[in-house]
Symmetry: D2
Subunit: 135 residues, 4 copies
């Protein structure tokens, strides 16, 4: 299993008139953590796009347990539990500063060629980065 943890601070613009983080922002939080997680693997997200592979989102699941608020320092854990083939599943856990689990999420992404948007397999070099975590 691959696991990566990072932190972010809730922005004012991410709140809504309920006084909490608007739910549409969680997909953005997943993404910033996913990008960092991939960088930590030596697999730059930008490099992947420049090499001609895009990773479109196939599905998202989100469970809201406790609200996040402006200026909260949030810890987000990214998990990959299975070696990817044609798809890759990322799971997310968001914790507030006092360790409370505020949110659970997952996103499944495909691999497609930038030219033609055709589905393809996980690039070999990215699979190589991940393999050590699944032996």
């Amino acid at each position: 299993m691959f696991e990566y943890t990072t932190k972010f601070t809730v922005r004012y613009a991410e709140t809504d008139q309920m006084g909490i983080v608007h739910h549409s922002n969680y997909a953005v939080f997943y993404e910033l953590a996913r990008v960092e997680a991939m960088s930590s693997l030596g697999s730059n997200y930008r490099a992947m796009e420049e090499s001609g592979i895009l990773m479109p989102i196939l599905n998202i699941h989100s469970v809201f347990k406790a609200p996040l608020r402006f200026d909260d320092k949030v810890t987000i854990k990214v998990l990959i539990k299975k070696m990817p083939l044609a798809k890759i599943l990322f799971e997310y856990e968001l914790y507030t500063e006092n360790g409370c689990l505020a949110h659970l999420g997952s996103t499944e992404l495909g691999f497609v060629t930038k030219d033609g948007m055709k589905p393809c397999r996980v690039p070999a070099w990215f699979a190589d980065c991940l393999r050590p975590f699944f032996d």
Copy 2:
């Protein structure tokens, strides 16, 4: 079953560098359709908040079938298949102009009091609006 259909046009700001609508915007599309659907029931969303009831999101599920692009005229259908009690489930279907099903989504919302954020039941007046669709 309650069903409501509306349309929106994809904004430039909603695209990303893949040239398609960024996935975080779909929750916003659900919301604008849900707000309109509730208005059509005579149950103004703003009125609900002003009467002291908030409707926080409990969970979201999204399945991406085909990308949406800038300036697409999208039809979104909102479905309520079951009378709500403590929670209400909205389902969404998004269609492109040529009738292609591009996206499926659902959001479950709770009812909570604005003062104290305590869970409560669907307000009687809103249940009354919905009942005709479930007889």
Copy 3:
């Protein structure tokens, strides 16, 4: 002078914890009105990008006079007061339902080639669309 008026409804996601529209959304409002204004001229924004011309933003000025709130039906007026050459200046006026002027804005955009991002002049076909308004 060219003038175009359209309407939009404030989305819940556009509010912040002050209970008003977050200021970062106004640039998005300008854009949706600008896109529609250009369509009304027979000059599709999407067509312009597909023909190889991008219109990057050079500067933005915004004056906030009265807040907008969730579900407000806002009228936005787009003005072009001068024939464009290398740049085009759009001005915006936002009115609430009771006719109150809530906001003033302007954006200046350049014309650049998609390949190479080199500055260029207003495309002839777009100038032709605008000319009748400046005679």
Copy 4:
């Protein structure tokens, strides 16, 4: 003069189909830097709201010099050049990693009471935080 410098990384969601950061995000960048700058002064933004003072935006000016791109590590400098009274002017300079000035901005904010939204003066405790920088 008060000066504060921080950094942020461009998020994927902040790009648009031109492949650059969408211009509506710059107001969000200003805000995250402003919030941090105020924290550094010992004047927590959240505390200000909790103490009953809101700081609505009065106007924004933005000049775009060079585009920002996904995953750019951006340095943003916040400047207050004048002691605030009824209003406070923040200026912003955004630099890319190689030290290129990419963007200039400014926002003027008012002080209003949360109850009644009445204009008021800069709170004394905040003025006290700033005074050392203007002697």
